[in-house]
Amino acid sequence: MYAFEIERPTSVAEAVTALGTEEAQPLGGGQTLIPTLKQRLAMPSKLVALTAIADMKYVRRDGDTLAIGGGTTHGTVAKEAATHFPGLAGLAARIGDPAVRNRGTIGGSIANNDPSACYPSAALACGATIVTNTREIAADDYFQGMFMTALEEGEIVTEVRFPIPEKSAYMKFEQIASRFPLVGVFVAKYADRVGVGVTGASNDGVFRWSEAEEALAGDFSADAVAGLTAPDASDMISDLHGTGAYRAHLIGVMTKRGVAAAS
């Protein structure tokens, strides 16, 4: 790692001030950023650790909405969201491994927008609201391609707000070495619509499979997906773990399984 200073503010306001320094970078749970720093792929002058901000760690239900503080770990979401939103708790419970889930945070995952991260698929499928220290951003406007988001320099994800679906499930086809999804699909059924968020597959990062959403809105069954044409394989990631065509095929398979498993 290159040398840098580290600060540990205890409030969002202090963190925002600390991030005003040139080349300062926020540090969530660090489960992606620390390995990145070790490879010298980033050279911040200062890291602003968000882990000491108690106000950013919570899972709160407010009517039909589940609000999760940006600093909440995957392990906490897995436990505390289980009764309110089992689909999301199930997603969180399968990120990384137990030690990673005790550090990694929802805000960090959403801010990094890794093309194979799990949370962005749920945020998109549910039409979540990404709350920052300055504004609220609709998920559809927030995710802007691989590692790209609507966040400005120094902006912090303080909360992610999910409308709780009637039924949902996350299906992850693991890349066996990294355990990241080779393809992950989050299916969320609401009274008036269905959301299908796909991660791990596309060259453009997380996306909504709108054809499946339309088909499932009329008939929420695996059969409704069966007749659909798979997303265009030429838009999909092709690497030694799987071709674009393979990933495109998996999207259909995982969506069907998600519909069948939704609870």
């Binding site: 790692m1 540990r8 390995p35 650790a49 392990g75 990384g96 491994d97 137990p98 030690a99 005790n102």
Partner: protein, 161 residues
């Protein structure tokens, strides 16, 4: 350099740390607690697992400065008060849950977290939990047996042929 204060295995320690100093470097190089191992340094292998405020953490993927005020427990701090092996450590010995021993400190710390959360895990739950702990001697069967035994369960059928 910043000053950091934490409690490690029950003792309060205060040291100056670099901003980029990992918790595992702090434990091994400043405190000379070399029982916590560095296997991969990419947060895959789990040899560096310790407990921070009672939670399982990979010490290679957390900065020492972030442990300010924390209670840290390493493999050196888990034996019984009289110095004898604790129930998990003893079970690893009894069931040959190690060959070279490199992954063992992480395995023991990880197992302790599992049993705290789930005192009677099934074999499948133990194997799933150990996803973040890699053993290069491929000794998983006996590690799983040891953890099942430490939870007070019969291990005769674990990994049966």
């Amino acid at each position: 350099m910043t000053e950091v204060t934490m409690t490690v295995n029950g003792k309060s320690v205060r040291r100056a740390v670099r901003g980029n100093e990992l918790l595992v470097e702090f434990l091994r190089e400043q405190l000379r607690l070399t029982g916590t191992h560095v296997g991969c340094d990419t947060s895959q292998c789990g040899a560096c697992c310790v407990h921070v405020n009672g939670e399982l953490v990979k010490a290679c993927s957390m900065f020492a400065a972030e442990a300010e005020g924390a209670e840290v427990t390493t493999i050196e701090g888990v034996a019984n008060a009289d110095g004898s092996l604790n129930v998990i450590q003893q079970a690893f010995q009894d069931h040959h849950g190690l060959q070279c021993g490199f992954c063992t400190p992480g395995m023991v710390m990880s197992a302790a977290s599992l049993l705290k959360e789930n005192p009677k895990p099934t074999e499948a739950e133990v194997r799933h939990w150990l996803q973040g702990n890699i053993c290069r001697c491929t000794g998983y069967h006996n590690i799983v047996k040891a953890i099942m035994a430490a939870s007070g369960q019969d291990v005769a059928t674990v990994a049966a042929e």
